[in-house]
Symmetry: C2
Subunit: 400 residues, 2 copies
């Protein structure tokens, strides 16, 4: 990551229309950008907290906003099953339903249904699956995914893709990649139809863009073909990289990102799906990624595992029993401003749910703030130094 | 409740020292008062939310404060077991530990250990019980209850009392009442010793008053003797009425309250323990009660059961699926200001913990606001009319 990638390092003007993106600064491959969306602007790099059930687990939308989150991700699969997109649409769409008034992205449901091993059948038409809630048999197709996401009404909707495991063979990875391209054609057609819908009132309410997903597993050639096929079907207001952080070794993920970084259109936002942990954010930003999402912030938080500027802390450990200091003295979140480790540990030991919430909030703020800090470092032209120092402090030694 | 009870209806000056109480207005038996405590003033009548584990279940102290709670109750039994009063004392006492900076009251642990049927042995010395957490055998005595509460450091500490079931025989009720008086002597001695403690730094930090508890079951004569015996051991800065709302019929509780209302010192605050539901608050205030506590607000909230100005609502019911209106259009809480019934129902159905929190918060605000409204009605001299109208709206008909 020592080369400069030839992207413009000059400052573009701010994006003037929804879905416009301006790269304001570059530093190596890393980029500081500005993405305009119907519900507001997103300064990148940025972490998107995940709101599985129309709420970031355990957190109030006001808390998520105060933590600095500019955009959240919501899950199409879960919301389709409960309460159903018709219910959400009847209550004014997902923004109004959940009272989250900032930008939002919905995934396609693809990742979830492909994860239902043994409970789903894949065909060219789509995926037939068994609901994990009531056992009902349902089908998700490129078209129905677009329809569900349209009813939900997020700013950014994701194409329905064929996801393969991280260590998939070239044959399986190729099959998934090719199908993802064919499905992208269908997604594009259906999404355009919805946008040209007969109900002008609906159309005015729901302004939404569609982003494609690059697949191809861990195979450079397949990734390259996926990107080319995707760009042929463009233009797109943004592109996502899927099928990473699903079991492959980290150096492999880094190699794929580096290969794509040189080929992705420099003037479009890049979203690395399902990533990540703090070190993954830094690795991704260093390789030109602008957007991230991951459930780890809240999932780890619910188990008492916190990221801090000096490494991970398990707040349940007895060593914190009478600890008066905050979870992370270097953190500016509402939890660290107010509560001691001793109190947080007590809440977890006593199974008081306030504890889950306080550590989840800390973790969300932690990743959001990393995006803010990385952005500032990029603007200052010292991302490399900043990230090295950040990781040294985090690991308590050189990066392993 | 048609008679006027002869208490002064003139306005006293504000209390000038901690633990001072001024009755500012009376209307029938009902009173609008002002209680000075080391951590602030409490305008009565007032509901105290319960913070079992040093947190009002599921709620952030900032939320509880914004809901208007002036004082909370914390449980000595639970905090003694987890994390232990030594841990809390080491972290600066319960106020600092929990970051609740307003007034606080701790119960004595008596109610909890007496509820451990089959797991506790009562003697004149105290109660030997088996921890519900780790099965360890422990003892709670009047002295140790005072010591634990001193270490916790609440503004108001409660005497360790012998609680009997709601329908206890006169013999058992008399035994409990007499023992409660003997234990009160021991509580008073130990509490005074702690207040005269050798460590002046401790003493400056922990300013705390002791309130006795009137027992005697459902027997007017025993209640009268309990009150007389208690007053002989005074003076007290406040008095509590225990052993009600523990299974006896409501009219019996009302009769006991009426009988006590005429005998309790008019210039001291009166706390009805473990009560109540909305209708119980009104019944208690009408009979001269100033303070209440109950876990129902948060316990019901966690099960999706909400009080509203027009009756109870079970938010889990399918009828709320696409309901766009707030839980209670007549409520000013943060939940009702922002979220629809449809969204709240979804959170409960999807088992998203934000739902538990939002309905708990509503219920807490609901009871706190009842106290505020009752106070205003008393000050206007129309408590009787206000409470009748309130109950008519709540029940949707005349009070049953």
């Amino acid at each position: 990551m020592n080369s400069v990638n030839g992207q413009p390092s000059t400052v573009n003007g701010p994006p003037t229309h929804p879905f416009g993106f301006a790269v304001e600064h570059t530093d190596g491959f890393s980029r500081a950008g500005r993405l305009a969306l119907p519900h507001g602007e997103v300064l990148t790099p940025a972490f998107m907290p995940v709101g599985t059930h129309g709420a970031v687990r355990g957190l109030h939308p006001e808390e998520v906003e105060r933590a600095g989150a500019q955009i959240i991700l919501s899950n199409t699969y879960h919301l389709h099953l409960r309460p159903g997109e018709a219910t959400i649409h009847a209550l004014g769409g997902l923004h109004r339903f959940s009272t989250w008034n900032r930008p939002m992205l919905t995934d396609s449901g693809g990742f979830q249904v492909f994860s239902l091993a043994g409970l789903r059948t894949i065909s060219e038409e789509g995926v037939e699956f068994t609901s994990h809630i009531d056992g009902s048999v349902r089908t998700l197709t490129p078209e129905s995914s677009m329809e569900i996401q349209w009813a939900l009404g997020a700013d950014i909707t994701m194409a329905f893709d064929h996801v393969v495991p991280g260590q998939a063979s070239p044959e399986l990875a190729e099959e998934g990649m090719e199908r993802t391209l064919r499905w992208l054609d269908r997604c594009k057609v259906r999404h355009a139809q919805l946008g040209d819908g007969a109900d002008p009132a609906d159309r005015a309410d729901v302004r939404q863009t569609l982003w494609p997903i690059i697949q191809g597993g861990i195979h450079d050639e397949l990734r390259r073909r996926s990107l080319e096929g995707t760009l042929e079907r463009g233009p797109w207001s943004g592109l996502a990289i899927g099928g990473l952080s699903v079991g492959e070794p980290k150096p492999v993920m880094h190699r794929i990102l580096e290969s794509l970084a040189e080929r992705l259109p420099p003037d479009r936002p890049r979203y690395l799906m399902g990533v990540g942990f703090p070190e993954d954010l830094i690795a991704g930003i260093a390789r030109g990624v602008d957007l991230f999402d991951c459930v780890a912030a809240t999932r780890n938080g619910r188990h008492g595992s916190a990221w801090t500027t000096t490494g991970r802390v398990n707040i349940r450990k007895a060593v914190h029993r009478t600890a008066d200091q905050p979870l992370d003295p270097g953190c500016d979140c509402a939890t660290c401003a107010r509560f001691s480790r001793g109190y947080l540990r007590h809440l977890f030991v006593a199974e008081e749910m306030l504890g889950l919430r306080l550590v989840s909030l800390h973790n969300v703020r932690f990743l959001v703030r990393m995006g803010e800090q990385a952005r500032e470092a990029i603007r200052q032209g010292n991302f490399d130094r900043w990230s090295r120092e950040w990781l040294r402090r985090y690991w308590g030694r050189e990066e392993p």
